[in-house]
């Protein structure tokens, strides 16, 4: 066998953020002509490692070799010149430029950038690349009119036209429909055949199994192993990825992923009606329709999954249900009581609670303590005669929650802003479950959580279900939705389209609804 020199070699990379050691001496070879799956839980250091390679972070120690030579990558522009391109989870595109213009941005630099770009010539080149890869985009369309899946293609085309050798994709399947995922995977297969190297960052094993040639597993900033896909033992990889913290046999996530038995999950009949939403509509100040006559019911003991590509009105939907926004028209009935115009506090008192999507801007009060944050929303129930806060009770409850949800904090008087993203998420989830809500509205509640904690959250959601509560579970993660929902409805352009019961769950069917192809 010929020994092939890797195009990129990361050697003994260290990176620390404050007290957190994100990378503890990682060595990784990246070859052209193959897909390398970089697998690991949230917070394992995958993105950090690739950000180091892309010139966004300076490593504290370690060397980077590109094409056999040691380089100090100073910036993303430098990385691109070296043939490395990274597509982040949040695309870096100019929304009121066309796809073509976005690809053209930054193609020349310095004095040369004063010369007009020959767009016609560029378009021709892009067309060739599109044909070779199978990733098609309407180049004349403005980015803001393109769905997220297509925007991702623009990012990838941007890389390909620049002739990069290594393409890094950070969790690229977030917000893609299953059909789009298939298209992406096919394109990646085609591209590696032409000699491109791909680094595919993900926390989902089945994705790397579907597309990667080799799998590298990262946990807590350490590279624990590298395998050929054809030779891999899945159980070993999972163990490496999550450590010993999860009992795989009892795990909802892995039992579900292996699709062993659906019968193990109690399929109770839907109970009496808990929440009824009738013709809910929302228009913004300019009169644009954000939510379009949404109607549904939620029963006791039911988990209603809301799927959809983000940005189709999910956020406004949960906000209207919880009372953060007032609907333009329509009704919300909680156990028969009209709560459409009730305050958030009244809704909380009636048994609603909420896990907002955006943890930093809506989830926490950064300069309040962890303890105080854990009771935000129900703080007034901790009062003696509605006047004084009963901090003794707050403290004892907080102590329990911190323990139960393994919130990593020096003590409960620590300011919430000092917590890491994952721990803030845990705090939000702990707060919500602590209220024992009748109706829980959760928007991407597991985002950024490691697998053990995700498992815990899913368990708690199922626990609420068996306690007779209803859950509205909005998520971009279709796997997760299919795992726990009793019913899945899809949000598309502010409408709730389709509603599949558990026996009719079909990834591709839901995918069509997400793309607005079918249903209505």
């Amino acid at each position: 066998m010929v020994v092939v020199r890797p195009y990129v070699r990361l050697e003994n990379i260290y990176k620390r953020f404050g007290d957190v050691e994100a990378l503890k001496g990682v060595t990784l070879d990246i070859f052209t002509g193959q897909v390398l799956g970089l697998l690991g839980e949230n917070g394992a250091g995958k993105t950090t490692l690739m950000n180091v390679l892309f010139g966004l972070y300076k490593p504290d120690a370690g060397l980077i070799y590109v094409d056999g030579r040691v380089v100090r990558i100073k910036s993303p522009a430098h990385a691109i010149r070296l043939g490395i391109f990274m597509v982040h989870q949040h695309f870096k595109l100019v929304s009121n430029y066309t796809a073509l213009e976005n690809i053209a941005i930054g193609m020349s630099s310095g004095i040369k950038s004063l010369k007009p770009i020959d767009l016609a010539e560029l378009e021709e080149r892009i067309n060739k690349v599109m044909e070779a890869s199978g990733l098609y985009v309407n180049l004349r369309e403005k980015i803001r009119n393109l769905p997220l899946g297509v925007r991702q293609r623009v990012e990838i085309l941007k890389a390909l036209v620049r002739g990069v050798k290594i393409l890094i994709l950070d969790e690229p399947t977030t917000n893609l429909t299953p059909q789009e995922v298939d298209t992406l995977f096919n394109a990646l297969r085609n591209l590696v055949r032409t000699g491109l190297g791909v680094v595919f960052i993900t926390h989902k094993l089945h994705e790397v199994m579907a597309v990667a040639d080799e799998i590298a597993v990262l946990r807590s900033g350490v590279l624990l192993g590298r395998f050929k896909r054809s030779e891999v033992d899945q159980a070993t990889v999972i163990k490496l990825m999550v450590g010993e913290r999860i009992d795989l046999e009892k795990s909802i996530i892995f039992r579900g992923f292996r699709q062993v038995s659906t019968s193990a999950r109690a399929e109770n009949m839907p109970g009496p009606e808990l929440l009824r939403v009738e013709n809910l509509s929302l228009r913004d100040r300019l009169g644009t329709t954000i939510l379009d006559s949404i109607s549904f019911t939620l029963s006791r003991g039911e988990i209603l999954g809301i799927a959809g590509v983000s940005g189709n009105g999910q956020r406004e939907f949960v906000e209207v249900i919880f009372g953060v926004r007032k609907p333009t028209s329509g009704k919300i009935l909680l156990e028969g009581v009209d709560v459409t115009n009730s305050s958030i506090r009244d809704r909380i008192l009636m048994g609603m609670f909420y896990v907002p999507e955006d943890r930093l801007s809506e989830g926490i009060s950064p300069t309040l303590s962890v303890m105080e944050n854990l009771v935000l929303g129900i703080h007034f129930t901790y009062s003696t005669k509605k006047l004084l806060m009963d901090f003794k009770r707050v403290r004892s409850d907080a102590l329990q929650l911190i323990k139960k949800y393994e919130i990593k904090t020096p003590d409960m008087a620590t300011l919430a802003s000092k917590l890491s993203g994952g721990n803030i998420q845990k705090l939000m989830v702990a707060r919500a479950f602590h209220t024992k809500p009748k109706v829980l509205i959760a928007h991407n509640p597991t985002r950024g959580l490691d697998i053990a904690t995700t498992e815990r959250v899913l368990c708690e959601v199922l626990g609420l279900k068996s306690a007779g509560s209803g859950v509205i579970y909005v998520s971009e993660d279709l796997d997760e939705l299919m795992l726990i929902s009793d019913r899945i409805a899809v949000m598309y352009k502010g409408r709730l389209v389709g509603s599949l019961t558990r026996d009719r769950f079909d990834k591709y069917e839901i995918g069509k609804l997400m793309a607005g192809v079918a249903g209505g």
Binding site: I364, S365, H379, L388
Partner: protein
């Protein structure tokens, strides 16, 4: 846990100690270049407040005013609103107290209480308009409260020049208020007003409210992240303007305390540079009442000390003011320059 808190406190105070030393260093350099005795100047600045009862009571009087003013700023600040209108609210509180003290007659105890209440009422009224504009039309409270300051300043002059004008004085001021409207003295000579007790009591009360009550919790939640507070059911649209009105009431109370306890009349310019100092103290203390009290006292000591410089060391007043300004700038800069961390 006590230990770690102590370490945190020590760590937090390092930059202040450092910048105060630096400020004194530069002040010393200037004094040295001006040919003054540096060591004795330092001694004057730091110890003048404690030389005799007269200067100590003067320090306490300034402390009382500064304390109410920084509290008036800090309560809205805790809910993330900037009450730049402390000056106007203080003046209107003073005007209200003076009006009651001049126009009304009532038995001793009752008269002074009504005067103080009038001060609180006018102060909060003065903050209500910006609060209303903010709540209803989203008008930035910084701009509206500054405008209200101008109106208050000239209202004081108009008031002091009309019915109760002190014709014997060349400066706009009213005649003294009735004796029944004067606060009792803690010490007759040198005089010390009982106002200091009221200011400290207000500080204690506000600390209690902010730290231990439900409203205080909501105020703090609103200030640290209004959006999160709103999403979790806190009525921020009520709390923010309310905090501004409460701040106005405190400032008005401060004005009334100074009229009934110290000046015994309404004087144009009686606010001196205290409103800005008060705001500065609150900002330095990040709105934390436990810090405001000692910081306000320290600033009063510096203020009395630098003023004593011109008498004792014959340093011209302009230089004294420059020195004071320098000290304050350095303390303020230390707040934002967190380079010692890394």
């Amino acid at each position: 846990m006590m230990g770690t808190q102590l370490i945190r406190l020590v760590k937090a105070s390092i930059p202040y100690v450092f910048s105060v030393s630096l400020a004194f260093g530069i002040a010393g350099l200037i004094l040295y270049l001006g040919g003054y005795d540096v060591v004795s100047s330092y001694r004057t600045i730091l110890t003048a407040s404690f030389w005799n009862f007269n200067s100590f009571f003067l320090t306490l009087t300034k402390f009382s005013t500064l304390l109410t003013m920084s509290l008036a700023f800090s309560i809205p600040y805790i809910s993330r609103k900037f009450n730049i209108g402390v000056e106007g609210q203080y003046l209107m509180g003073a005007l209200g107290a003076a009006l009651v003290g001049l126009a009304m007659s009532a038995p001793a105890g009752i008269h002074v209480v009504i005067s103080l209440m009038a001060g609180v009422a006018l102060g909060s009224l003065w903050a209500s308009l910006p609060a209303f504009l903010m709540a209803r039309y989203n008008v930035n409270e910084v701009i509206s409260t500054i405008m209200m300051n101008f109106i208050a300043r000239y209202s004081v002059i108009v008031f002091a020049m009309s019915l109760w004008r002190d014709v014997a004085s060349g400066h706009p001021m009213t005649i003294p208020i009735s004796d029944t409207a004067a606060l009792p003295l803690l010490n007759p000579s040198p005089p010390l007003s009982s106002g200091i007790i009221f200011s400290l009591a207000i500080a204690a009360l506000l600390y209690f409210i902010v730290a231990l009550t439900v409203v205080g919790y909501e105020l703090r939640a609103t200030g640290t992240n209004p959006r999160a507070a709103e999403v979790f059911g806190v009525n921020t649209r009520l709390l923010m303007p309310l905090s501004l009105i409460i701040g106005g009431g405190i400032a008005g109370f401060g004005g009334a305390l100074d009229v009934t306890g110290y000046y015994h009349r309404l004087i144009d310019g009686m606010q001196s540079n205290y409103p800005s100092l008060g705001i500065l103290i609150a900002l330095l203390s990040k709105g934390k009442i436990t810090f405001i009290v000692p910081v306000a006292f320290f600033i009063s000591v510096i203020d009395v000390g630098t003023n004593a410089l011109q008498r004792i060391e014959r340093v011209p007043i302009e230089l004294v003011l420059i020195l004071e300004g320098l000290l304050l700038v350095f303390i303020l800069v230390s707040e934002s320059l967190r380079w010692w961390r890394k």
